[in-house]
Symmetry: C2
């Protein structure tokens, strides 16, 4: 085991030890970090004669994947490769990159995704048990591309790699705000790039039912505002995902979260209708009636159709946040509960779930649900997705239920990559035994869509999801946060080539906000602010609905300000070391912020929409002015009075007030800097 | 007529004359310019209580269009409108914007698209004969939005508007490079924003057959690499376009340009197969065999299906660039021609076209084709699309054929907006009589897709197509180029809100080119270069194919450098006026270019792909250094020697050499500046 652990420890900062001396350290850009990795000193150079050879040639998905990789390599390097398409009929005698896969893999939980990748002067060799493993290896291959004055090359390396968890998912909510198929596809590409393998498709909720249902057509006709995926589109998405080794698991959230369903079929609700599609955000009353046989006839028909449409073994029935109000108020339901010895709404939902389980089982689907479906009397062939926390996940694993962790991976809550990255489905201090740990299948990051649109959603998913993907794939001991951020910047850039717009939509949004004026001053401010966190945004006087504008500064602002992160770090080391270089860099940043407010005011005079953040901009100016006093004072040995300290403390507190649902992300740094004059 | 002409003259620079004094001039941002427009002094302010009211309420397309306009207004202003959806059931008592349409329009050639828009302190009134007219008026309405320190408002105005031409098209080629449905939709939105009304869908060519054909499935199965639109997707596109008052006319290019068809059905070719999908660009030999009855059976089946799938009255059969080689070499065809008195290949193609015309007529479609289908013996119920030029358009109009101009609107050829803008389907010196002019239906801009991908195509279409759209819509006397560019900058910005990526893909492309380094130095260079023009790019040693990388600097560079245009203008006025302000601005620009080369060299050392333009970057530095000499010399009264002049002339000539298929767009300005020292 020692050598294995050694590999893990050194995998972040790799000594060039494969064949040469350990003279310099090589920092790789791989994310997720492979299980074993060893670099050498050689470079394998490529030019337009670069050829890929695959054996066997009859796995069409692998041929297509390799062809796309060839195009991506061509797009990055500008090399006009002679090779065009890889097909069954390709007859390359040899390849610069040789790929072997033992067999065609199945896109199912637990399929072999391991691969080995070896690069030396002779060429590049990628070997995998299945095409899925080859897909993962090809993404590693692309991340290894380097460039110097002579051209493009791959470093000498030996990699052995396989995933830690078999379930590595991204949940996309297309109910609250519908997302076009293009958004789903580009995010599938992003998932493949960081080796994720489950698209959890949240297809229904109070605010919209998003799949064509041929047997119950009122669902999409009345429940979707015309915004839904047809059968053909769903098949297209599944094919697209499967060809990248990614499963597509549908979620139909019941018995609560179902206003859109009950808009179409009010007779199945637990209280009299009519219902209309919900436009607001929150938890709502409409709930299916669990005591009607018609309800189960309905779901039999429904799940029959959906089980045929979706090819995955698993089907998610939601089950969360049923508030029970309609059940409590329905006399027939209360009577039914008494007659059948059902003690409370939890037990009643368990009754409902067991009936559904029978239906799903009949159609060969395994049931997945949120925490709430975990009831003592449920059979343990269901899978629990934990949004409530580690505790409930541990409990269900101890009771023999398979589980997936999502608590801590709610990327809609605008938390830092670090926070998500350090959250582990099986933390090192887990109370679970090794046997129990096997019940933890992995994790899923969740993109709830109340506050995002097609324009902003990529910026909420990426790049933070790449850090989470590493948590799901790489060894749990890989936890160097600084190195994660370094690699995340690189992978974020690379994700752009797949059409993801987490970076590229930023400036167009600022352009709209300035009404096509010079965006530089707005960008300087927006670069150092973040949207308010967790659920705060709903609690600041703005009532958000499905139709609200999601085009304000809070929507343009990144979930995590990298400029603020850099600033806060610089302050830390400046306080510690009082270093001249740090002082100069901080000074430059602060001078820019001092100057910025007047410039932004001019822009705001011709763009009313940005006025809401002007008070914050002026706070930033004041903080930066004070920061400059501290920098100078420290150099000149100035004594700062108690009055000064009290006043600046007030400034810090005042600057913590959010404006336009955003907050300054560098308060922490300024606060430390101001306090450091005491020392 | 006088007042009408007056309106035209003043429409670019509008005196505020409606009710108030003519104290200041109001420059509007409308593109295309309406037929009649008169501004007043009042402002109509809007807030979150803004309501749209429509009558009648039963035109669902109009309800949807107005709802989208409401969202766009909300997105721009950040206002949380109370109104959510406009539907048949909406019961607004009054509206801030009241829309009336007399009847539901038909999306056909010549439908009434006129509207009147009146804004004053009482409110906003939009009246149209049809919903199509209301769509056009709503786009004008959105372009009128203004902002001041108090918020958002619309200026007082009276507009009467209707189009000059009834056929205002954009042709998109999805054969050479396939484009996803998302690209088609966002471009349809762009078209609607500038009041265009025909999407000409170039669906087949040598390099790909792009529609599912159920009756002849080998077409899409073998002719498309799997990249084609299904029936469902075609219907989705037609619905999307029609809902915006835009027709969708399909083009199936035959009998030449048909390699992809003949890959699937080689037995219909004029020479023995097999064929494979063409990967190269150019004119190729494969041509349908016009003497086989099977050919017409095939097309009968084909056009029956396509006539049902596409709802437009018109169907385009291409007909261009049949090189005749296969016909010349086929003994049976030669024999057939002799026996039937067919003199040459033109007549043979005419025979083919007449047979097709019978088929199209049977299926209620009118035939459209490129110039080549115009033969003396063709019936004159066909429509000629002129790619060859004004002359052939005039000829066919004189002979009573309806025509559409595309010559001069080939946006793939990287010419200036000015060039396209001044090109008129019926120029003021037209030899056509007013009666003959009626045969000119309008024009179409053509986006041939050899050298574009989904990433770059928007930047080739927009914003230049907006200037062409004005040519098709507005009075022919509107020809102020400077004012066109001013408004084009505005409309280009507004087009971004529809998801068009002509601006937003620029920096991501530079980011990839720099390999995620600081892009500023590459941007300074790329901002002043343009891709080589017309067909030059194919003739500079690079062999482009369907699989080439289209990610180089030439692909990132804009078709028209606005920075270079500004520079060239500044030089003109500086030479004329020797003004200090001009001198200082030019000096600042040149200093930046002098400094830039060393910075770019550093970037290029870590990104090999950009090295191809380094010689041009060094030329730019040398030009700018010389430019500074001239600026200083003119101030100091320096005499420039003949040697200096000869040397600088050489520098100009050397700087005209393209690198990486791009050229410096400011040579003209530098040349004039250097020559000005003689005077």
């Amino acid at each position: 085991m020692n050598s294995y652990i050694l590999t893990l420890v050194i995998s972040i900062l790799i000594p060039l030890s494969l064949f040469g001396e350990q003279t310099k350290m090589y920092k790789h850009n791989l994310m997720p970090v492979p299980s074993k990795i060893e670099f050498g000193n050689d470079k394998y150079r490529i030019d337009s004669t670069f050829i890929i050879k695959i054996s066997p040639k009859n796995i069409s998905e692998l041929n297509s994947y390799a062809t796309r990789v060839l195009r991506r390599l061509s797009d990055r390097t500008g090399l006009f490769f002679v090779q065009d398409f890889l097909t069954e009929k390709s007859n390359e005698k040899s390849g610069n990159l040789t790929i072997t896969a033992t067999r065609k893999g199945n896109v199912v939980v637990g399929e072999d995704e391991s691969y080995t990748l070896s690069i030396n002067q002779k060429g590049i060799q990628l070997d995998a048990a299945t095409d899925l493993g080859a897909f993962r290896g090809l993404e590693t291959f692309l991340q290894l591309l380097e460039v110097d004055e002579k051209g493009y090359y791959f470093p000498e390396v030996k990699i052995e790699d396989s995933p830690r968890f078999k379930w590595r998912g991204l949940m996309i909510d297309v109910s609250r705000h519908f997302m076009p198929i293009d958004m789903i596809k580009r995010n599938i590409d992003g998932m493949a790039a960081v080796k994720m393998n489950v698209l959890h498709f949240h297809l229904s909720d109070d605010q919209g039912f998003r799949v064509e249902c041929k047997s119950l057509p009122k669902l999409h006709e009345l429940g979707s505002d015309g915004l839904y995926f047809t059968h053909e589109q769903i098949k297209e998405i599944i094919k697209y995902a499967n060809e990248r080794g990614i499963r597509v698991m549908p979620e139909f959230d019941i018995p609560g979260h179902s206003t859109s369903w009950l808009t179409a079929y009010p007779e199945l609700a637990s209280a009299p209708g009519p219902y209309t599609i919900e436009r607001n955000w929150g938890v709502f009353d409409p709930t299916f009636n669990p005591i009607l046989e018609e309800t189960y006839d309905f779901f039999d028909k429904f799940f029959k159709e959906m089980s045929e449409l979706f090819n995955d073994d698993y089907l998610h029935i939601g089950g969360d946040e049923n508030n029970g109000k309609q059940w409590n108020q329905n006399q027939d339901i209360q009577k039914f509960m008494k007659e059948n010895g059902i003690k409370d709404n939890h037990e009643l939902q368990s009754y409902f779930n067991k009936r559904l389980l029978n239906i799903l089982t009949k159609y060969n689907k395994k049931m997945v649900g949120w925490d709430e479906i975990f009831q003592p009397d449920m059979p343990n062939n269901i899978v629990i997705q934990s949004w409530r926390g580690q505790k409930s996940l541990v409990e269900s694993a101890q009771k023999g239920y398979q589980g997936i962790l999502s608590n801590g991976y709610y990327i809609d809550l605008i938390q830092s990559a670090e926070f998500h990255y350090l959250n582990d489905p099986i933390p090192s201090d887990t109370p679970l035994t090794p046997e129990e740990q096997k019940f933890i299948l992995g994790g899923e990051t969740t993109m709830w869509a109340e506050l995002v649109t097609n324009e902003t959603v990529d910026s909420r998913i990426w790049p933070r999801t790449a850090a989470i993907a590493e948590r799901f794939w790489s060894n749990g001991k890989i936890r160097d946060v600084e190195d994660m951020y370094r690699r995340l910047d690189r992978v974020s850039f690379q994700l752009e080539e797949l059409g993801l717009r987490h970076n590229s939509n930023y400036e167009p949004m600022l352009r709209r906000l300035t009404n096509n004026q010079d965006i530089s001053s707005l960008k300087i401010l927006t670069d150092v602010i973040e949207p308010v966190k967790i659920y705060t945004r709903h609690r600041q006087g703005k009532k958000y609905t499905q139709q609200s504008p999601y085009t304000r500064i809070v929507d343009a602002a990144r979930p995590e300000s990298m400029t603020a992160r850099k600033f806060n770090h610089l302050v830390d080391s400046f306080i510690k070391e009082n270093n001249e270089e740090g002082r100069l860099t901080l000074r430059e940043m602060m001078l820019q912020w001092v100057d910025n407010h007047d410039k932004l005011k001019v822009i705001a005079s011709k763009s009313y929409i940005i006025r809401e953040v002007l008070p914050m901009s002026s706070n930033l100016r004041d903080l930066a002015q004070t920061g400059l006093q501290v920098l100078d004072g420290k150099m000149n040995g100035r004594k700062f009075s108690e009055e000064w300290k009290i006043e600046k403390n007030k400034l810090i507190e005042m600057s913590k007030i959010p404006y336009g649902q955003t907050e300054l992300a560098l308060i922490n740094g300024f606060e430390k800097l101001f306090k450091s004059v005491n020392e």
